[in-house]
């Protein structure tokens, strides 16, 4: 320990360098990173810069400091684009975002960054052996966004008519979700949610909007059964259709 303390007090950067590398080899990332955090600045622009940047990023990653590790991986990619380690660092940069990606119910900014970074990686190194894993991880991340956007629409549906018409919001949120993620695994749920929300909205409407909204719900029914003719919501959808039609009939008679 005292040896390390003494080292810190000395200004012998040459010694710092060899010791830092030794600590790194021994996986003592805490000590290594303390030394490296200074060395990366001191040796900027020298032949050691590339190695130090790479090693420092790995140390931070080893310390589970994804935020800083990611920063240094990206610095590496920016400064040493032709290095043979650039591919690895670019991949690791995405991995750090991936590690920081939280549960779907929380802010997904790191998830979006991870997806973007993996995409960049795949574009840059389409033949890399890491592409397969990157694709897998990207799918996993995208599933989070898909689920989050599904929950968003579902929440408005669940809120019902609390503080205003949430069915309209549910329809828009669900449509946006389908637009953003056309191949979502919640496609059927979202489509039915749109149908059901439109129907409930029509039923709860003021008289002058009722007819239009019922017709809209019926249109929505045909879109729905067209896509999911044998789906699990078929029966409930049929019920919506027959209810809407019989309600419409009542209005049509009045008009006549």
């Amino acid at each position: 320990c005292s040896k390390y303390q003494k080292l810190l007090k000395s200004q012998d950067y040459e010694l710092w360098y060899t010791e830092a590398m030794a600590y790194y080899e021994k996986e003592d990332y805490t000590r290594a990173s303390t030394l490296l955090s200074q060395l990366v600045n001191i040796y900027r622009g020298t032949e050691r810069a590339e190695e130090l940047n790479y090693v420092y990023a790995n140390c931070l990653y080893g310390l589970n400091n994804d935020l800083s590790a990611g920063h240094y991986y990206r610095e590496f990619v920016k400064n040493f684009p032709v290095s043979d380690k650039a591919e690895e660092c670019m991949y690791m940069s995405a991995i750090t975002y991936y590690n920081m990606s939280p549960k779907p119910r929380l802010d997904q900014t790191p998830t979006e960054q991870a997806i973007q970074e993996f995409q960049l990686f795949i574009n840059m190194y389409p033949n890399s052996s890491r592409v397969e894993e990157a694709t897998l991880l990207m799918d996993e991340l995208r599933d989070k966004l898909v689920y989050k956007s599904y929950l968003n629409a579902k929440l408005y549906y669940d809120l019902g008519d609390y503080m205003g018409n949430n069915y309209m919001s549910a329809v828009i949120a669900a449509q946006n979700s389908l637009k953003d993620f056309p191949d979502t695994k919640y496609r059927e749920e979202l489509s039915f949610l749109i149908l059901e929300s439109k129907y409930i909205q029509a039923v709860k409407s003021v008289e002058e909007k009722k007819v239009d909204r019922l017709r809209d719900a019926i249109d929505e029914y045909y879109t729905f059964v067209n896509e999911f003719p044998e789906g699990k919501y078929k029966r409930r959808a049929d019920k919506i259709l027959s209810d809407s039609e019989s309600m419409l009939e009542g209005y049509n008679k009045e008009e006549v």
Partner: protein
């Protein structure tokens, strides 16, 4: 030198790089620098082309070079030899400061932002010098001198040491401030308008800064003109201003010559371009009439900034792109006619509502509170109200909630992004101390963002399952000898997740054993243990376990937000049960037996405050009734019979209790810092049968209002400036018997810090209140008065703490010397 000529006209030619050579450097490694370019031998690049420019940019980004050039040294056929010329700069190895305090060094170091290893250029040194100087001039050190000496570092080649010497000298103060040409406004008024430039040596300026700061002085000159503009002197201008330095006493004399100009009035105001709202209506909303004193600032406020500004009529109805531009069309004498040019634009409906920054709180907890929803028309006031309500949730930093409006004019929609910042919201209270010869300790934990469904999910324990906005509070308290209590409560604000109906559950248990007879002191009446901060009245008594009182209770509450009369209302209902088990408990009316209290409570409240910690505006009212079933009506026993034992008499307690509390907050200065709060509360405890008056559930008035442990179900009401519980009447048996009380307070608050890490405010208060035993004696004008000052500190993890000093002007009929000068400690938020 014979260098090939690159033609920049015509289409670029493609070459293959045959060699890259780096020249001009002294200490750095040429091979590594060549790599840095991103170019490699064998690569095919267009010349001129993007690759070369990018390489140059990369070198500049390194910050190591003062000159970067890439040249084609030789071109042969399709092969090109590149030469990269780089000029190195010396680099910084250390910065030393003289003449500054440690804290200043840190700030300056940050400002200068030169890192070890970065290059040192004359430009950077100049910049640093200017930076430091400006920094201190801003602070009033007008004569600051900065001197930076650059020395070669003997230890390292091409490295330099920077010695930064700062001599701040003394601050420059304002000796005199003279106005000329002002007739309408007095010197005093103008001086007041100048916020940061004030004369020294004047009593009036005692609390104001006397430093002369050029930048603030410029702002103050504008403020003077603004002041004139506000009273109709639209053409007012500063003819000349003169700042004379007095070297000998380091002061300045300021002389300002003003031309006031004429006073103007509003003339006709006409509207053009409005199709949605008629002109009359807009004029009515504008609230400016012909003949009013012309005031540009007021006009701006009425159009745009006020809460009920004219443009908000449009903004609250989806017209996000609307715009009102007042144009002066004619000036006749002293009257200005205005034409209000209205651009209405199209209505924008909300498309996406995006929540960012919730790193702990689950999205649905936030989204369900948001009033701006997809599909609705954009509304500015709903947006503002949402921000206010998100602040109320307590999970986010209220000073840092920023809604971002992202309009999409093409399809008439708008995306709203709520940018939030989580703040630590759990509270821990651990207190222990040695008081009155015994240990007194309590441990309280309050988790305000709990997630109970994740309680069995091991992964969610980091360190606790959070994010669902539920509250879990645990508390244990003991003095080790004769008192222990445990309680637990849980609240789910959105039961079922579809409606904001809250469910609260709580259970508690406390055991109190008797103490030896020296403890008994009738004048204290044993209803009240003075709460926190005072000593316990158990003068070294030893416990006596043959006597005890055990209280066990549980309650279930259900709260509902109402939509009528307006949606600030909530209705809360609760059923609760308490069981008092007494054995030889000679401190109370009843000594032995078991007393049961089953009661129901209904509270209607309306709460519209803007910020729960430092409230600026809004109000908080609640009216409640709590009652037990009228047991005596179901029995035909004659309770007036004196021979009925207390045990039987109080087996089932019966009462009805009414409470009212109301508080109103209002900012009284334009910066909305100084806030005045008026508060009123009253309570009444009634009975169904004269002979069955509840010995429990009394009101105890006086002191800090902290109910350390509330015995006998009593409610502690603070009244500062008096000793704890000193204003409470007694019954014939020596127990507290407050059956009716009222209280008024007026508080003025001023914030000293409004950071999320700490909110601090000072307050001054006037208070008055009293408690009565008998309804016949009640007299709302016979109040005990007090006044005082205090300080509150809110720290996220400890909650609200404070200290008040109050002076009670009146005597308490129940306790000698209970008024006068009193200090009170306050923990937690009271009402």
């Amino acid at each position: 030198q014979d260098v090939p000529n690159i033609s920049y006209s015509g289409s670029p030619k493609r070459y293959e790089i045959s060699s890259i050579e780096v020249v001009g450097i002294q200490n750095l490694d040429p091979k590594m620098l060549a790599k840095l370019s991103g170019l490699r031998e064998g690569q095919e690049i267009p010349v001129p082309g993007d690759e070369i420019s990018q390489a140059i940019r990369k070198y500049w980004d390194q910050g190591l070079f003062s000159d970067v050039k890439i040249r084609a040294k030789h071109i042969e056929g399709r092969k090109i030899d590149l030469e990269i010329y780089l000029q190195e700069r010396p680099r910084l190895s250390e910065m030393t400061f003289t003449g500054l305090k440690k804290s200043e060094v840190e700030t300056v170091r940050e400002k200068v932002s030169m890192m070890k290893g970065s290059q040192v250029t004359p430009f950077l040194i100049d910049k640093a010098e200017k930076y430091i100087k400006d920094y201190f001039v801003d602070k009033g050190f007008y004569n600051t001198e900065v001197n930076i000496i650059q020395k070669d570092d003997p230890a390292k080649a091409n490295h330099v040491l920077l010695e930064i010497n700062v001599d701040k000298k003394d601050k420059v103060k304002v000796n005199s401030l003279i106005f000329e040409g002002n007739e309408v406004l007095t010197d005093g008024k103008l001086n007041k308008a100048m916020k940061k430039t004030n004369e020294k040596g004047k009593i009036l300026n005692f609390f104001r800064t006397k430093k002369f700061i050029a930048e603030k002085y410029e702002e103050d000159l504008t403020a003077v003109i603004d002041k004139y503009n506000e009273i109709g002197h639209r053409d007012a201008r500063i003819v000349s201003e003169e700042v004379t330095r007095n070297i000998e006493d380091n002061t300045v004399d300021v002389k300002i010559k003003i031309e006031e100009g004429n006073k103007y009035y509003f003339g006709d105001i006409s509207w053009v371009g409005n199709t949605i709202y008629p002109s009359d209506y807009l004029s009515y909303k504008l609230r400016i009439k012909k003949g009013d004193v012309f005031n540009q600032k007021l006009l701006g406020e009425r159009i745009m900034d006020d809460e009920d500004a004219v443009q908000n009529e449009y903004m609250d109805n989806g017209y996000l792109f609307s715009n009102i531009n007042p144009v002066e069309i004619s000036v006749k004498g002293d009257t200005i006619d205005l034409e209000m040019r209205v651009y209405e634009g199209q209505q924008a409906s909300i498309n996406n509502v995006i929540i960012r920054g919730n790193t702990k709180t689950h999205e649905h907890v936030v989204r369900r509170e948001i009033r701006t929803k997809p599909g609705q028309l954009f509304s500015k006031s709903e947006l503002i109200r949402t921000v206010r309500e998100l602040a109320q949730l307590g999970h986010f930093d209220p000073e840092n909630i920023s809604p971002d409006v992202q309009p999409n004019q093409d399809n008439g929609t708008v995306d709203l992004v709520y940018q939030l910042e989580e703040k630590a919201n759990d509270q821990i209270e651990l207190s222990g101390g040695w008081g009155a010869g015994m240990f007194v300790g309590s441990l309280g934990l309050k988790f305000t963002n709990f997630s109970i469904r994740n309680i069995f999910n091991g992964e969610a324990w980091r360190p606790l399952p959070t994010g669902d906005g539920q509250t879990l509070a645990l508390r244990a308290q003991t003095n080790g000898k004769y008192y222990q209590s445990y309680s637990m409560s849980f609240t789910e604000p959105w039961l079922g997740g579809k409606k904001p109906n809250s469910l609260s559950l709580s259970i508690y248990h406390s055991i109190q054993t008797g103490v030896s007879s020296s403890y008994y002191n009738p004048s204290y009446g044993y209803g009240g243990y003075p709460g926190y901060g005072s000593s316990y009245p158990g003068y070294g008594g030893s416990s006596d376990i043959t006597q005890h009182m055990k209280i066990t209770g549980a309650s279930v509450g259900f709260g509902k937000r109402l939509r009528w009369p307006d949606d600030w209302f909530t209705l809360y209902t609760e059923a609760s049960y308490q069981r008092y088990d007494l054995l030889d408990w000679n401190y109370f009316i009843m000594q032995n037996g078991i007393s049961n209290n089953l009661n129901f409570k209904v509270v209607l409240s309306r709460r519209s405050i803007d910020n729960p910690i430092y409230t600026r505006r809004g109000s908080d009212f609640s009216v409640g009734v709590e009652f037990t079933p009228p047991w005596s009506m179901f029995s035909d026993k004659d309770w007036s019979n004196q021979n009925i034992s207390d045990e039987e008499r109080y087996q089932r307690i019966e009462y009805h209790k009414w409470t009212f509390k109301g508080a109103v907050f209002k900012p009284i200065d334009t910066a909305e810092k100084l806030v005045v709060m008026g508060r009123m509360e009253m309570g009444f405890l009634g009975y169904y049968n004269k002979y069955l008056q509840s010995p429990f559930e009394k009101f105890i008035l006086g002191g800090d209002g902290m109910s350390g442990y509330s015995m006998y179900g009593s409610e502690t009401i603070g009244l500062r400036g008096y000793e704890n519980s000193s204003l409470t009447p007694y019954n014939t048996e020596g127990s507290y018997d407050g059956n009716i009380y009222n209280k008024l307070s007026l508080e003025v608050r001023y914030p000293l810090a409004l950071q999320p890490s700490a909110t601090v405010f000072a307050l001054g208060f006037l208070e008055a209140g009293n408690a009565w035993s008998q309804y016949e004696d009640f007299n709302p004008f016979e109040l005990k008065r007090s006044a005082g000052v205090g300080l509150r500190i809110f720290l996220p993890i400890f909650g609200l703490m404070g200290i008040d000093w109050g002076y009670g002007f009146d005597d308490s009929p129940y306790r000698q010397n209970a008024g006068g000068s009193q200090f009170h400690f306050v923990i937690g938020q009271s009402f």
